[in-house]
Symmetry: C2
């Protein structure tokens, strides 16, 4: 499975950061102002979202946008 | 003028990295497989592009995607 593409990287980081912040998908949905299904799809890597949506997720997670694209862990 | 949003950050980094790589917008367009107007609009900060498009630009510039979202310079 190809795991070095941008959608996989975002999906992995987003889930890790959400769990680290002790948030459910529902809580992140509320904080970011995005629909719960949107959060869920993005975390499963099934959406090619816009950079404005990424910015909303980053704000919800209280991290800089670039952290969501970091590929340091593998 | 608000300059800390994701579109402004991407726009600024993209232009800096393209100039540093000694590429014209046309050359970056060719390398990334995106239309020249698309490159030009993104560099001017007038488009809310998808993360897959950002990935293509990063490949064209030969940098990691996260570098396009770095906000270290100001």
């Amino acid at each position: 499975m190809k795991k070095d593409n941008v959608i996989s990287i975002l999906s992995k980081n987003m889930k890790e950061l959400r769990v680290k912040a002790n948030l459910t998908q529902e809580e992140l949905s509320f904080r970011s102002g995005l629909h719960r299904n949107y959060i869920s799809d993005t975390e499963r890597g099934t959406r090619n979202i816009s950079i404005k949506a990424v910015e909303k997720i980053a704000k919800g997670l209280e991290v800089p946008v670039e952290n969501l694209f970091s590929n340091n862990n593998d």
